[in-house]
């Protein structure tokens, strides 16, 4: 296959082999003898490879309306003027079809929104950059830049002349490698499109950025992206979402099994907040399917009224008896499997289960292993009752600058923990 003067834009590179999609879109597709058969309407790629190959061309024939498909292997040569087929290939046209793992560049990628996993945000595709290697046309970059827009408008040359003349400056390319791009399916039947290689890249985005991205998307793409996340990332992302309406719709749209796994993974107080916003029937169903420890925590938390300390506390805390030694406490700490929200303080209870004092992690690290915790602990404790108003708790945090505050019942038994993070979230929401 011969490739002629495909591209003139990137100086210093092997300039013959790159081509922009906008430069060949709509070009003439002709038979081996030069007879025009139609215009190039689209390229179909098969997902899966790092830089996916163009599998076939979609051609709008000269006569007739139906778009036809032609395998790329029947292409003899391709340049920015025309595409020439192999001899006899014109008999091989067939009606265009797309499989579940195939996408059409113009129909489903160009002008659409995609997730740029490197920049952790949503971008719009202005143009698509292709490369020709070993007779294959492969997708390498997408163009997010102003140059892409100008090129498609046909203003690029004049714009360059103008900016050169005015400022001796040329606008920069903004090409992002395809491996960082997560395309978003544009209609419902494609929602099960196996997310391509870069789907793994989604997990490298920080959950708060993921939450921002999800909030910016429309409902269909929201759930597609959300489903592509593993349970842990999904849980963290859900916690970061500000809009409760989006939170609840994502969790109700997920299958019950998956939804309850995600709830298990979330911090119990966050999971409780979310569950409290769901309709009764759905909530009961989800809680029943949750695993025992988190189910119990959530059920306990749901009892507390909204706006009280109990409703925002976490049940994940670490507490040991005062008769334990530092060494035993450390062993106990190691055995704790649930992800603790706050490890700053270790609480110590007496034989009756009443909270007696507090140590810091620093104590455990620097003290001898044999020392009894009851001799180390600070007994001047500030606690709040579960029925206390959040505003009061906030006041305590302001005054004492703690990282966490223990929540107790009327008998003085530790019920949970409110962390500075919980309070900050409450404050920010107001």
């Amino acid at each position: 296959m011969a490739v002629e003067n495909a591209l003139r834009e990137i100086p210093g590179t092997n300039a013959q082999i790159f081509v922009y999609f906008s430069e060949i879109m709509g070009r003439l597709v002709c038979a081996a003898d030069g007879e025009g058969l139609g215009r190039l309407a689209d390229f179909k790629i098969k997902m899966g490879e790092l830089f996916p190959r163009v599998a076939s061309l979609a051609v709008k024939p000269r006569h007739g309306k139906q778009i036809l498909e032609m395998d790329w292997s029947n292409v003899d040569s391709c340049n920015t003027q025309s595409i020439r087929l192999n001899p006899g290939a014109e008999k091989l046209f067939r009606p265009l079809e797309t499989g579940p793992e195939e996408i059409l560049l113009r129909e489903e990628l160009l002008d659409k929104q995609v997730v740029d996993t490197l920049g952790a945000r949503i971008e719009r595709v202005n143009d698509i950059h292709l490369i020709i290697v070993h007779q294959d046309l492969r997708l390498v970059h997408v163009d997010f830049g102003a140059r892409g827009i100008l090129r498609r408008l046909g203003w690029l040359r004049s714009a360059d002349k103008l900016t050169n003349w005015l400022f001796a400056y040329q606008t920069e390319e903004r090409l992002i490698s395809w491996k960082y791009i997560q395309p978003l399916p544009s209609h419902p039947d494609k929602r099960n499109l196996k997310l391509n290689v870069s789907a793994r890249k989604l997990h490298e985005i920080h959950p708060s950025d993921l939450a921002d991205i999800i909030e910016e998307l429309d409902a269909l793409n929201r759930s597609t992206i959300f489903r592509a996340l593993d349970t842990q990332t999904a849980a963290l992302t859900l916690e970061e979402l500000d809009d409760t309406k989006i939170q609840t719709s994502l969790i109700t749209q997920s299958p019950v099994e998956q939804a309850s796994d995600i709830l298990d993974e979330m911090a119990p107080d966050e999971a409780t907040d979310l569950l409290a916003d769901l309709p009764g029937e759905k909530r009961r169903k989800l809680i029943q399917t949750m695993e025992k420890p988190s189910r119990e925590a959530v059920e306990a938390l749901l009892k507390y009224r909204e706006g009280t300390a109990g409703s925002i506390m976490t049940k994940d805390f670490f507490s040991v008896p005062g008769t334990a030694t530092v060494g035993q406490a450390i062993e106990e700490f190691r055995k704790t499997t649930c992800p603790l929200e706050s490890v700053a303080y270790i609480y110590i209870h007496d034989a009756a289960g009443k909270i007696a004092g507090v140590c810091t992690l620093r104590h455990l690290i620097i003290a001898e292993r044999e020392v009894l915790l009851s001799t180390l602990m600070n007994t001047r404790l500030i606690t709040v009752e579960a029925e206390e108003k959040i505003a009061e708790v906030t006041g305590l945090f302001r005054k004492y600058k703690f990282l966490a505050l223990p929540v107790v019942d009327a008998g003085g038994t530790l019920q949970g923990l409110i962390t500075l993070k919980d309070i900050m979230q409450e404050e920010l929401e107001e």
């Binding site: 002008d111 659409k112 971008e123 719009r124 827009i149 498609r152 429309d218 809009d243 309406k245 719709s249």
Partner: protein
Amino acid sequence: MMKRLLAQPRLRGLLLFLSVAGPGIITSNVDNDAGGIATYSMAGAHFGTTLLWTLIPIMVALIIVQEMSSRMGVVTGKGLSDLIRERFGVKITVYLMFALVLTNFGNVIAEFAGVASSLEIFHVSKYVSVPLAAVVVWLLVVKGTYRSVEKVFLSACIFYVTYIVAGFLAKPDWAAVGGDIISPSFKMSSESLGMIIGLVGTTIAPWMQFYLQAAIVEKNVSVKEYRMSRLDVIIGSVVVTVVAGFIVLTCAATLFKAGIRVETAADAAQALRPLAGRYCAALFAFGLLNASLFAASILPLSTAFVVCEAMGWENGVDKKFSEAPQFYGLYTMLILLGAGIVLLPRIPLFPVMYISQVLNGMVLPLLLVFMIRLINNKKLMGGHVNGPIYNSISWATVVVLGGLSIVYIGSLLKI
């Protein structure tokens, strides 16, 4: 307590409505902006009640068009410019955005002209009022205090009730008014053609469709709640038309009768004399100022938002300037230039407001073509595409309005 209340179905329905309502009603109140008040006043003052009948087909078209915008917002979860870009590609989008920015720019000028002319009643020079208003509006939005001020603007819209009261107090000849509405008449002249296009353009402004759809998307209204959203839009549209009708009627019963031509805010204010006596000027100035500032805070912002969404540029007032330079640039430029043009010496303020609405009316059919094509796209809308009645009314609007615009331009060029 709340839970028990919610158990009652009627109350639950009302609460659901309130949670979804807003975009339609806010949009309609913004719709009665400086350009709107000017156009309706002039229609009444210069044509009496002879053009009153046009408001009925305009209302039907308004409901249909706004319903389409909100339906697209609910079903696709995307903004209108977003959909246009994805469906029609970058080329068409860029040219359409140019047209939209130009028209909206006309409207921004109209809002600042409204500020200038309303405060002229209090003898405040426009060289003071307009720059001040520009700074206030810019800060309101950029500093994020707009949301809290929105309620103030919205409640001040109660001002429009004064037209309804004044309309009754002016004791119009109700039989003649009824006759004018029932048997539409139309005298072919370049002036009345322009006025009809202006009436359509100010009531169904192109920018409002973008604004409404964006507001619906932002509210995350689900398809299930859509019936409530539709109710919101219908209520809003009817309110707009009733207010517009009474402005026309009041001006017809007072100004038209007295043979006053509306050239300034003081002329238009005379319509409220039956109600407010010698305070009519102050009352009118207050209403016009509120309407102008309300729209001036939304319009440039909405324009910048729509353009950035279409081009894929970062947008939103929660972003820093360095993150969204195009957004802030466009927003600031619209305000700066809009206010600047009003400061030109001897610029006729009321005609400027009116002309911007005629421009709206001429761009509307173009936008409608895109909207109709989008909403009939099965891939996009699934089972929520237009039915035959919707399609025929919306296409009829395009054809009639397009035809009127062509004839109007022809009559201006004296072909």
